[in-house]
């Protein structure tokens, strides 16, 4: 039950032309990057800091004030947790993720430097640069190379081998969503390999050291220092911070899963990327990614990952431009008979949820999917 129209097979020449048009669009866009983009990211940072400050202040008001004026406790704490969660979402998605991609390196501002920016999440920016910027973005949805396929925990595609363990995945997926930041933090450590003793001695200790430090820092900040500011009334602050982190976890999980695991998203075998042309790389990004419709607020709250396709085409173009770029991207894709996967958030996430449920049980690739499989140019 695909919502996409049939895909036209492209000859190698057509693939090259497809890639050249998308490259030209990137070059035209990069030539305009400048003050608008610098102003935009500073504006987002400004809002993020004010909202975050407001959230933390409200938690304090709720915790301390609530001890004396009981009706204050719940409204202030709920609003505070929501605002803090929102600030963390903005920081992680629109600022952190995009800055670490190098979208704002053109500014030469040390505060927006892709190699030194450290984001407000337990995962280290360094591990993210490798697992996300390199592995995930270069080998998007290539089995065995993109570790984001099910995060080594879930079976999302029928091409992944089924094991009885996956029967638990509807439950595991929920827990994973609630603690998503921890999953991302340990993704690069390859715990599975360590448990199976397939790792050189001492490697785990070395790899864990920076991750452990970052985890400690984050825990100290959200669960010791800020609660301690409320003195004996620390508990509501601590729980509010827990809720804010939880809100951020679930939201990032939803957005990221909608980006690559909708019904029509495809995975690819390793062979498909041998001597891959630029055009083929674009086509693979297109087929492995899906957008979320919903306008400007959705764009902001997802750090513009609502335009996952444009993001995968142009990971280093300032993300707030994706919306404008998408008009031309859609037109190019339509001209080459390539599907452009987009839908509302409920629809896209519904498809993800169905995949998680369906592939918990044994399944085989559908023939229609295989027929649309990318041919290697």
């Amino acid at each position: 039950m695909s919502k996409l129209t049939a895909t036209r097979r492209l000859s190698p020449q057509e693939l090259d032309a497809f890639g050249a048009e998308l490259d030209a669009l990137r070059a035209r866009t990069m030539a305009q990057v400048g003050k608008v983009d610098a102003d935009y990211i500073r504006k987002v940072v400004r809002w993020m800091r004010f909202i975050g400050f407001g959230g933390r202040a409200l938690l304090m008001v709720g915790a301390i004030g609530g001890a004396f004026v009981p009706w204050l406790l719940w409204p202030a704490c709920i609003l505070g947790a929501l605002m803090l969660g929102l600030a963390k979402i903005l920081e992680n998605m629109e600022v952190g993720h995009n800055v670490i991609h190098g979208q704002y390196d053109f500014m030469a501002d040390p505060q927006f430097n892709s190699h030194t920016y450290e984001w407000d999440i337990v995962a280290t920016s360094d591990n993210w640069r490798h697992s996300h910027n390199f592995r995930h973005h270069t080998y998007t949805n290539v089995r065995g190379m993109d570790d984001d396929i099910g995060y080594g925990l879930l079976r999302i595609f029928p091409e992944q081998r089924w094991r009885p363990f996956y029967l638990l995945q509807p439950f595991i997926a929920v827990v994973f969503a609630l603690y998503f930041q921890w999953g991302v933090a340990i993704q690069e450590l390859k715990l599975g390999r360590w448990v199976a003793r397939k790792m050189p001695k001492g490697k785990m200790r070395r790899d864990f050291a920076p991750v452990g430090r970052k985890m400690g820092r984050q825990l100290l900040k959200d669960y010791v220092l800020f609660p301690a500011l409320a003195g004996p009334f620390f508990l509501p602050v601590l729980l509010g911070n827990l809720a804010a982190n939880g809100i951020r976890n679930v939201w990032t999980y939803v957005v990221i899963f909608c980006g690559h695991f909708t019904a029509d998203a495809e995975t690819f075998p390793k062979e498909s990327i041998r001597n891959e042309s630029r055009g083929h790389w674009y086509m693979r990004q297109l087929r492995g990614s899906s957008n979320i419709g919903g306008g400007r607020l959705m764009n902001l709250l997802t750090g513009n990952l609502s335009h996952q396709i444009e993001h995968h085409f142009y990971p280093d173009v300032p993300a707030h431009r994706y919306g404008a770029l998408s008009v031309e991207v859609r037109e190019i894709c339509a001209r080459y008979g390539q599907p452009y996967n987009t839908g509302s958030l409920p629809r896209q996430f519904g498809e993800v949820a169905w995949r998680i449920l369906r592939h918990a049980f044994p399944s085989r690739p559908r023939r229609s999917t295989t027929s649309r499989k990318l041919q290697t140019a």
Partner: protein, 384 residues
């Protein structure tokens, strides 16, 4: 000869060459040391700058407190640095960074006066054709703007107790560090005889004229001569013509006894060095290096210095730097090799590169040059 970077001239290279440091940064208070592990500097700066534009946890920032025209195409900026800036000696220069169209641009400028008692400093910036920074400072900078100010460097400084007779040779904006020395000596009531010979194309381009004439009138040991290359001499203290042996001998009869500092464009300083080397007891100079010229063809090689490993390599133009470095046996960090993952991005302190995807040249220093999709255009200094 010291390559100066200095300057007034836009587009010149920014390399700290000097070992002379004015003074150590202020000692950190114990309270501050205690707080450091808990402070995220960008967050601190964000909130501190709601209160005051130059408050910062660790960045040296300076606010523009006054702007005044200095000549037909020059402006004097008065800056008030915050306490993270460690100061400078007269004759030294600093890197100033401004954000222009969303991009931070850094250029080096000499202070044109000793640091004032209240910490204020002044720089005089001359407009350069097509210069982004000088264009910005002349046309767009306003009172209240905030610039990053780097540590001072440069060896064109006077000994603690100057002795003997001195000669300062300045051309164009090369006058600024020498002006700082003149003002320093004037503040000490001119303890030694000094002559300043100052070249410019036209009278309208001369800076500090009234002040220099007033100083010459007040201090018998101080002489100033303005030399014009595109106009004829008028006043008594004016002359005309480019620098040569006859002109120098005419302007400075006791040339052989003078200790000489020279500052100006590369050609001027090279000529001065040829004329004076061995003939005077001391010769020290600074020259502006011209901006890297984007080459039109991709043939030949360039010298690439790797700042962290201290190596220097000859690498071909027109080839991705990553590939060229690997061909030399180096293994810089890399990933996608197609310009998307940012793994190979490294700092570029000096030089021009070209983005192989778009053909766009990049001449500014950057913290993130993608080696896999950039080729060398001029000599480079990379942070590898």
């Amino acid at each position: 000869m010291y390559i100066c970077i200095h300057g007034c001239a836009d587009g010149c290279t920014v390399v700290p060459m000097s070992t002379v440091q004015p003074k150590k940064p202020a000692r950190r208070s114990p309270l501050r040391r205690l707080a450091t592990p808990f402070v995220a500097p960008p967050v601190f700066d964000f909130w501190a700058q709601r209160l005051h534009p130059t408050w910062s946890w660790d960045r040296a920032l300076a606010r523009v407190v006054a702007l005044a025209p200095a000549a037909s195409n020059a402006v004097t900026l008065t800056l008030k640095p915050n306490r993270h800036w460690a100061g400078a000696l007269p004759g030294q220069h600093v890197n100033l960074t401004a954000e222009i169209d969303g991009v931070r641009i850094t250029r080096s400028y000499s202070l044109d006066a000793p640091v004032a008692a209240d910490g204020r400093v002044t720089v005089t910036v001359k407009g350069v054709d097509g210069g982004r920074m000088s264009g910005h400072l002349l046309a767009a900078a306003r009172r209240g703007d905030v610039l990053d100010i780097g540590p001072a460097f440069g060896d064109l400084v006077l000994p603690a107790k100057p002795e003997g007779a001195w000669l300062f040779l300045a051309a164009g904006s090369g006058v600024t560090p020498l002006m700082a020395l003149v003002r320093q000596l004037a503040g000490q009531d001119m303890p030694v005889p000094v002559t300043l010979v100052y070249w410019a194309r036209t009278r309208a381009e001369l800076c500090f004229v009234q002040e220099l004439r007033a100083l010459a009138a007040r201090h018998p040991g101080f002489n100033v001569r303005f030399v014009l290359t595109r106009e004829t001499a008028g006043a008594d203290d004016e002359a005309a013509g480019r620098i040569d042996a006859a002109l120098l001998d005419a302007l400075v009869p006791d040339l052989a006894a003078r200790q000489v500092y020279a500052c100006g464009p590369g050609g001027f300083v090279a000529t001065a060095t040829t004329l004076l080397e061995g003939r005077v007891p001391l010769l020290r100079s600074e020259a502006f290096t011209p901006p890297p010229m984007p080459a039109t063809d991709d043939s030949g090689t360039v010298e690439v210095r790797l700042a962290r490993s201290g190596r220097a390599l000859q690498l071909p133009r027109g080839v991705a730097l990553l590939q060229a470095l690997e061909a030399e046996g180096l293994k810089p960090k890399s990933g996608c090799r197609m310009g998307i993952c940012n793994t190979c991005a490294c700092g570029k302190a000096v030089g021009a590169t070209r983005d192989l995807r778009t053909g766009t040249p990049h001449t500014e220093a950057t913290a993130a040059l993608k080696l896999c999709v950039s080729s060398a255009v001029s000599d480079l200094v990379l942070d590898l």
